[in-house]
């Protein structure tokens, strides 16, 4: 089946099996290896992407779900102004340990920043509750998102 979508600002057209996992299409066909696979069941958040303005786990979606849609991945986000600030905050708080869960957290946190942005620990914990870090670095991850919220509120 022919599908087309916009990924990180680029229009792509592909001829793929519509039932193939979207994660595999993005990683293998488009070489977007910033998207990670861990649990493969939508429960860890390592493969999070933004699909039409909503953060979703790409391992439980099929290629057909992307047809006509707009996708943002960690790579695309890192080139935006807010994405740069968020990256700097993760860096400053030393939140990234082994790094495998990081792109997923980064995408979900970016979505929180652009849709809510309140530096509330409770809200941030809830927004990120679909992302799992097995180094258990949650505290620093939450701190970095709070820092990014505050920096955006200050307008820096």
């Amino acid at each position: 089946m022919k599908i087309s979508f916009n990924i990180n600002g680029r229009n792509v057209k592909l001829d793929v099996d519509p039932m193939r996992r979207l994660l595999d299409v993005l990683r293998d066909d488009l070489e977007l290896t910033d998207i990670k696979e861990s649990c493969g069941e939508g429960e860890c958040g390592a493969c999070t992407i933004i699909l039409d303005d909503k953060p979703v786990t790409s391992c439980i979606l099929n290629a057909v779900h992307a047809d006509g849609k707009k996708i943002l991945t960690a790579n695309g986000i890192s080139k935006t102004r807010i994405g740069e600030i968020l990256l700097d905050c993760f860096d400053q708080t030393n939140s990234v340990q082994c790094g495998f869960c990081f792109p997923g957290f980064y995408v979900t946190a970016y979505h929180y920043l652009i849709t809510d942005g309140e530096p509330s620990l409770e809200k941030i914990r809830y927004a990120l509750s679909g992302n799992i870090c097995r180094c258990t670095g949650y505290k620093k991850i939450f701190e970095s998102v709070i820092m990014a919220c505050e920096r955006l509120q200050e307008g820096s």
Binding site: M1, M19, G42, G45, P55, V56, G130
Partner: protein
Amino acid sequence: MKFIKPSSLPDLFDRLQNYEGRKFFLAGGSDINIQIKNRMIRDEPIFYINHLDELRGIQVVDDTVIIGALTSYADIISSPILKEKLPFFRNSLKLFASPLLQSVATIGGNIANSSPTADILPLLLVLDAEVRLLTRSKLRFIPINEFYTGYKEYVMKTNEIIGSVHINIDAEKNWLAYYRKVGSRQSLTIAKLALAGIMKLKENSITAIKIAAGALNEYPRRLTTTENYLKSKRKEDIADKELKEVLTEDITPITDLRSDKNYRFDVCLNLIKEFINSY
């Protein structure tokens, strides 16, 4: 597996006529893709329906809130209509899965997948929701209470699909409501059990009560024996031993990888008591 993407709802019904046997519908994908991965679905035809937007959305018609089958949990949570009319229902949904899964999981999918642990069902049961089933030329309403007949079995026929879920606009108005899901962690957990309840109290007497439980039977259901026992009882007259006896009539908890039957029974009992004593 054969993949079918109908161009419209009428086209879906046309094509369904050619597939009498076992088949699956792909909406959000949050559960079906795991079943495919685990080889529980192999060669069966798969009908993609997620693009059929006439099955999506929330509206109020007369005294009914109508939620299209393809409406995601994220859309329900962010709906101003639900926030205003059914706040208990809406707030309970925030406990489901995780925000990432709420964006793709649909209400129709949760019902059709008919898992004994489906998060939405205890809530729909106490709110007396109805499911609207569609075929090419007919529609019918089934109370959610009569939808399931056994483990993963329901009254829906092979040529029918779930069109929408209907809840009365006053379903939770003036009721004291309770929902609690018990799992091994707060988010992203499959329920060991879940309990939803609504009741009316008058000077410590229970004048009306509806309780439904998930993950305790082959499909979620109302605990009618327990409801009848509790109805018109004063709170202080509820006896632990009697409550245990009536609850035994209503639930047949199983032991599985998530927890054992004694645990499930005791926790269910405790949740019912917590519900009543929280008001």
